[in-house]
């Protein structure tokens, strides 16, 4: 394992120190328990938006803390859900009296830990609502399983919901928007190479020199199918089919689209992939209103990408366009 780190067990703390040093104007970092809050927290009379999850997906979530997006993020160990004490402390630190929304990616660990945190906060009189993101079409949805994983839609949700909160909407309104984003968002990912969890010291999985894993999770969880590598066009067509047919997205729909790198994918490739998706969208009559092309929800140094589509009405697009000022996403300021 070659990584630009000091000690495998210290990567989360060392990276938090780097974020604190780099962005003192945008955020503050607590180390025990670990959480990041926006520099001006708590913001009075605003719903606070809190998220969190395992580390290794940067800029998600810490890089999205700031005006117009998250009030706080709780980083777990690499690929491991954070713990309730972090979430409780972060929630208290940002609570502005108008309630707190927890954005939770649908993994058993994240759900259970956020549940405990919500209980603890509610016991202390803070109004908490949780919204679970489960947008990964690679996973079969079923009442009898843990359901779908939460992936790319989380990024779009944090932006849109953060804007709604900034506009002064109530906790119920903000939570409703979050649920709508989740209902209308779908994603799928693929990988050319594995990631290596620092403390594990070796790649999570092995792929042959001509193989790819389609339907990969953001923690290197195996996907739908392992197959021979194909061209960017074939891969995008295959993944678009899976994502588009799931909701389904229909001709005339307006979309916010994200072509997201997994951490080790060069930008030149992400643009090649975006070009292929733009052609698919055109052929299907889908209108791309807004888009992100870059690394937003990653899986350490994994090479690969994910595609996220969100059916967005005019209100959602307005919230999307609202100013945002975070290390990872910035416009309008």
């Amino acid at each position: 394992m070659k990584k630009l780190i000091n000690q495998a067990d210290n990567v989360v703390v060392d990276a938090l120190k780097g974020m604190e040093a780099a962005h003192p104007d945008l955020l503050k970092v607590s180390y025990d328990p670990k959480y990041i809050v926006r520099a001006d927290a708590p913001v009075k009379d605003k719903v606070a938006v809190v998220s969190g999850g395992g580390s290794g997906h940067e800029p998600l979530h810490g890089g999205f803390v700031g005006r117009g997006m998250l009030d706080a993020a709780c980083p777990g160990e690499v690929f491991t859900s954070p713990t309730p004490d972090q979430m409780e402390a972060a929630t208290k630190a940002v609570s502005g009296g108008k309630g707190v929304l927890h954005i939770v990616k649908n993994y058993t660990g994240d759900v259970l830990n956020f549940e405990t945190a919500a209980d603890l906060c509610q016991a202390e009189g803070i109004d908490v609502e949780a919204v679970v993101v489960d947008d990964d079409v690679a996973v079969k949805d079923s009442l009898y399983t843990a359901g779908r994983r939460g992936v790319g839609t989380t990024v779009l949700m944090e932006k849109i919901v953060g804007a709604a909160a900034e506009r002064g909407k109530s906790l119920k309104e903000v939570a409703d928007i979050a649920r709508k984003v989740n209902a209308q968002g779908r994603s799928m990912g693929m990988a050319l190479t594995s990631c290596t969890v620092p403390s594990a010291g070796k790649p999570t999985f092995e792929l042959g020199a001509d193989e790819m894993e389609v339907g990969i999770g953001i923690h290197g969880e195996p996907g739908r199918e392992r197959m021979k590598v194909k061209t960017a066009r074939e891969i995008v067509e295959m993944m678009s089919d899976a994502v588009i047919s799931d909701l389904p997205y229909k001709s005339g729909d307006e979309l916010i689209v994200m072509v997201n790198g997994m951490g080790g994918t060069p930008l030149i490739e992400l643009y090649i992939l975006y070009n292929e998706f733009a052609q698919v969208a055109k052929a299907k009559g889908l209108k791309i209103s807004r888009k992100l092309v870059g690394n937003y929800i990653t899986s350490l140094e994994m090479q690969g990408f994910s595609l996220t589509l969100l059916k967005a009405d005019a209100d959602m697009v307005k919230l999307w366009d609202d100013p945002v000022l975070t290390p990872g996403l910035r416009w309008g300021v």
Binding site: Y107, G109, A146, A200
Partner: protein, 208 residues
């Protein structure tokens, strides 16, 4: 009778066991999860042992509560809240006690295991730690009713849990991270069921 010291020895033993089996459990979790179960368990029990050393609790309830709080704060993931709940519920049945008889041991595991079931909502056959916990609980209750000793009870629990752990191999996971794999989760042993067997084995070695 199992003394406060013995319960403390159980936790200390678990620290050693999970440290030894860190790679093995992580390996199992690589195949159908995210390669952290061994790391999570080792981190949690290193912290739990240390917390007990720093603030030695005066009774078994307080001890198990301390373990629970430490696990919840340090493990994360799915196993953190689940094992955390186990020790929390177990602690509540032992409040103020400094030794446990066979009935006490039964209660400890019964409440603990029921806590895990309620928390995770998994049932036998879902390919989770419940596949080890549930048969262990049945074995504990059966043997206890027949007047068995703590050693006999825990022998039976370990044997049943081992069978349950082995039964996870052919299953398709329906709960936890492995469930995302669908059919591809077959032919792999569940890491959580494996760590549960280790927990019971350590109990057998220390509590009886």
């Amino acid at each position: 009778m199992a003394s406060l010291e013995q319960v403390r020895a159980w936790i200390d033993r678990l620290e050693a066991v999970y440290t030894e089996n860190k790679e093995y459990l992580t390996e199992l979790d690589s195949a159908i999860g995210d390669a952290d179960h061994g790391i999570n368990m080792a981190r949690g029990f290193i912290a739990a042992k240390q917390a007990l050393a720093e603030n030695p609790p005066a009774d078994i309830g307080a001890l198990l509560k301390s373990v629970s709080m430490t696990l919840i704060k340090t493990v994360g993931g799915a196993s953190g809240p689940l094992y955390g709940t186990f020790f929390l519920k177990a602690a509540m049945t032992c409040t103020g006690q400094t030794e446990l008889d066979a009935e006490g041991i039964e209660k400890l595991f019964e409440d603990g295991i029921n806590g895990v079931k309620q928390r995770g909502k998994a049932v036998v056959g879902d390919k989770t730690m419940i596949d080890a916990w549930e048969p262990a609980l049945t074995a504990i209750k059966d043997t206890r009713q027949n007047g068995a000793s703590i050693a006999e009870i825990l022998d039976a629990a370990v044997a049943a849990a081992e069978q349950g752990r082995d039964s996870t191999v052919p299953l398709v996971a329906r709960k936890g991270r492995a469930s995302y794999l669908g059919e591809r989760s077959k032919d792999h042993q569940d890491p959580g069921a494996t760590s549960t067997v280790l927990m019971l084995t350590a109990a057998r070695e220390t509590l009886a």
